[in-house]
C-alpha cells in the first residue's frame, strides 16, 4: 500500500521564510546557561520489495514481480530548538528524502511511491511566546487534536486519511497558523487561525481513484482563504474532555459530472466535535466524534448522487478505542472506526457510498530488552477485507533501530482494501534509522 492517501500540503514560502529568519535571529541572541540550543535529528534508509506480481497502466503498462525492489529511500530530518526560560521558545526543522534510481519505483511514479526526491524542505518553523494566561505559537506547525490513534476526526488541521505505511505518527502535516492556548481554572481554550488555506495535491489522487480528471479552469476556487478552529478541554473526574469546532475547507474539492465536462469546487465545511479519554481498572478508553456540515455549491443539488464525488449531506465520523497492558509488557489496542464519508482508504468517495466501518488492532510484544514484535491490522467490516502489517524491531544501540515489516492485503479485487490500486502491493520493507 503506497503513501498515496496523505496529501502533502506545501509550505507557505513567504511566511516560512520570515519566520525562519526571525527564528535564526533569535537563536543568535545571548542565551542563558540553561537555555541552550538543542539539535536533534535522524537519518534512515528504507528498502522495499514487492511480494507479488502486479501491473499498472500509467501511460505504458508497468509490471513487476516478487522480489523486485519497490523502494530505496534515504530520509533525514534535522531540528533546532531553543527555550528562553519560561517565557518563549523557538523551533525550526528541516526534512528531506532521496529516492535512488529504482526501476520499480520510477515506474510507479504517481501510483505508489511516485513522488520525486525532495532533498530539503521546511518541516516546522515557529516561535512560542508564553504570557501569564496564554501560550502563543506562531508559524508553521503541526496541530494534532483528538484522542484516538491514527485516525482523528477532530484533528481538523490535518488530512483525514489513514496510511498504514507511514505508521501512526506520520500522519499530521504541518500548516502555517497562529495558535493560542489560554488556561483558565475550569479548562483550556485553544484557538487556531490559518490565514491561508493550503490546498493539497488532489488531481493525481482523483485520477488514480476514479480514473477521471478535471482541468483547473473547471474547478471553482475558494474565496476567503481563512480557516479557524476552537477547542475547549478540561478534566472531569479522571476524564479528559475536548469540545471543538472548525470552519474551513475540505482537504479536496468536491467533483461532479457536468453536462459536458467534469467540474469541481472547493467548499467550506463546518464541524463540531467531542473527544474524551479516561482510564478504568488498567484500561485506557477513548472516543471522539464529529458531525460535519458540507458547504453548499451552486449547481450541485441538481446532480445525481452517483455523479458526485464528495459528501452532499451532513455526516458523522467516530472512533472508539481501548487498550490494555498485559504482564511482560504486552500491549493490545482495539479501535472501532465509523467514517460517514465513506471509505477510509479513499479521498474521493461517491456521495451515496455507504459509511466505512472498521476495526483496527494493534499489538506490541517485547521479545527481549532489544527486540519487539508488533502487529497492526485494519479490518473493513463492510466487506471483510483487511490489511496486516507485522513488524519486527531490533534496537541495535540506544540510537539505532532496525525493522522488518510486511504489508499484506487480504481481500478480493472488489473489496475495499483489495481494490485495484492496493491488492497487488504486498511488500516487505527493511529499514534502519539512526537518531541523534
Amino acid at each position: 500500500m503506497g503513501p498515496r492517501h496523505t496529501p502533502e500540503r506545501s509550505p507557505h514560502p513567504a511566511l516560512a521564510l520570515v519566520l525562519g529568519l526571525l527564528l535564526a535571529l533569535g537563536l543568535a541572541g545571548v542565551a542563558r546557561a540553561q537555555d541552550e540550543v538543542t539539535i536533534r535529528g535522524q537519518v534512515g534508509q528504507t528498502l522495499g520489495f514487492f511480494l507479488t506480481e502486479g501491473s499498472r497502466l500509467n501511460g505504458d503498462e508497468i509490471t513487476w514481480g516478487p522480489g523486485q525492489v519497490s523502494l530505496n529511500r534515504t530520509h533525514y530530518q534535522l531540528q533546532f530548538e531553543r527555550r528562553f526560560g519560561w517565557e518563549a521558545a523557538g523551533h525550526i526543522s528541516l526534512k528531506g528524502y532521496w529516492d535512488a534510481g529504482v526501476a520499480g519505483l520510477e515506474a510507479l511514479k504517481g501510483v505508489a511511491n511516485g513522488d520525486s526526491s525532495t532533498l530539503l524542505e521546511l518541516d516546522q518553523a515557529y516561535v512560542d511566546l508564553y504570557s501569564d494566561l496564554t501560550d502563543f505559537r506562531i508559524g508553521r506547525q503541526r496541530i494534532a487534536w483528538g484522542t484516538a490513534d491514527g485516525f482523528n476526526p477532530t484533528s481538523y488541521f490535518s488530512p483525514l486519511t489513514l496510511d498504514l505505511t507511514r505508521g501512526l505518527e506520520g500522519l499530521v502535516q504541518p500548516v502555517t497558523a497562529i495558535r493560542t492556548s489560554t488556561y483558565f481554572n475550569v479548562g483550556t481554550l485553544s484557538v487556531v487561525i490559518v490565514p491561508a488555506f493550503e490546498p493539497s495535491e488532489w488531481e493525481r489522487v482523483l485520477q488514480d481513484e476514479t480514473g477521471l480528471s478535471v482541468t483547473a479552469e473547471n474547478v471553482k476556487d475558494y474565496e476567503n482563504p481563512g480557516e479557524i478552529g476552537l477547542q475547549f478541554d478540561t478534566f472531569y473526574r479522571g476524564t479528559s474532555l475536548y469540545l471543538s469546532y472548525f470552519n474551513g475547507y475540505e482537504d479536496q474539492p468536491v467533483v461532479w459530472e457536468g453536462e459536458a465536462n467534469l467540474h469541481g469546487a472547493w467548499r467550506r465545511e463546518q464541524k463540531v466535535g467531542l473527544a474524551a479519554a479516561t482510564a478504568w481498572r488498567g484500561f485506557t478508553l477513548w472516543g471522539e466524534g464529529t458531525y460535519t456540515f458540507p458547504g453548499r455549491v451552486e449547481g450541485l443539488d441538481e446532480q445525481r448522487a452517483g455523479q458526485i464525488w464528495g459528501p452532499t449531506k451532513p455526516y458523522p465520523t467516530a472512533v472508539l478505542g481501548v487498550d490494555y497492558l498485559f504482564p511482560r509488557g504486552i500491549r493490545a489496542e482495539l479501535q472501532y472506526i465509523y467514517n460517514g464519508r465513506g471509505s477510509l482508504l479513499k479521498i474521493f468517495n461517491e456521495s451515496d457510498v455507504p459509511a466505512g466501518q472498521y476495526l483496527m488492532g494493534l499489538a506490541s510484544i517485547p521479545l527481549t530488552d532489544d527486540q519487539t514484535l508488533e502487529l497492526l491490522a485494519l479490518d473493513s467490516l463492510r466487506d471483510d477485507s483487511r490489511v496486516l502489517v507485522p513488524t519486527y524491531r531490533y534496537q541495535l544501540t540506544p540510537t539505532t533501530q532496525a525493522s522488518l515489516s510486511l504489508i499484506l492485503v487480504d481481500g478480493g479485487p472488489a473489496s475495499e482494501v483489495g481494490q485495484k490500486h492496493l491488492s497487488d502491493l504486498d511488500q516487505l520493507t527493511l529499514a534502519v534509522t539512526v537518531r541523534f
Binding site: D135, E169, T188, G238, A277, G282, W286, D369, R435
Partner: protein, 262 residues
Amino acid sequence: MDWRKGLAAPFLAACAALWLLTAVGAAAELTGPEILERLQGDSPLATQQGMAQVRLTTVNERGQERPSEMRIFIRTSADGTEQLLEYVAPADVAGTKLYTRTPRKGDPDILLYLPALGRERRIAATERGSTFMNTDFTYEEITSFASFTQLYTAERLADSEWEGRPAYVLRLTPKEADSLYSHVVMYVWQEEFLPLRVDFYNRDGVLWKQLLNSNFQQTPAGTWEARRIEMVNVLKKTKTIIDLVTTSRTDVPANFLRELRR
C-alpha cells in the same frame, strides 16, 4: 521504548521521592517507629516543589547498559501532587513528557506527550507489582518511598554501619497481606536520617532487591543528598542506577499541564 511498561505513578515519582527523601535533618536516639516517622516527617515532599535532572542507567543480566537522562518536576499542594517528567536523552525518546496529577483521594490523571504525535494521550495506571520502563523499580516500591509509615510497621534492630557510616537498622513489616515483600530491612544514617541501604525480601523470605544510596553531597541549604541511587535486583542480576545531575527548589514551571503541551 514502550511507554506503557509500568507507567503507573511513574518513574518521576520514584526519583523525586528518593531525592527528596534523602534530604532530611538530624535527630537523637529513637525507637523504630520514631526513626521511620522522622524519615518521613521531615521530607519536604509534602510541602515543597523541586526539579531534579537525573541520569538513569539500566544494566541487564548480560551487563549491557542502557542510559537515559530526564528532567523531573514535582509540586505538592493541598489538592495533591503534580509531577512532570521530560526525557532529555536518548534521542529516540527525547522530548517525551509524562504528566501525573495525583489527588489526595482517587486515581491519578496520567498524560503522556509524544513529540512525534504532537499531542497528549491519557494512559492508565498499571498494576502496582509490575515494573516500569524496564527498570528494577516496581510501582509499589515507587509509591512506598514516600509513605513508609503508612505501609509498614517498624522494629529497631541492633545498630550497624554501612560504608563507614553509623546506621540505625529497621526491620519493616508490611501492613497489607498482599505486599510484594515478606519484610524490608532499612539502614538509616544516624547523623542525617538518610536511608543508606534498603533490602527487600520476597514472600519466600529471600533477598530480592537492594536499594543503595551513595555519593552524598551537602546542598547549599545545608542538607545532604544522595547523588547516586542504585536498585540492584539480586535474583535477576540486573540493576538500575540513578545519578542526580542537578537539583533545584525554584526552577519549576508555573503550570505543569502547560509545560506538558509546549
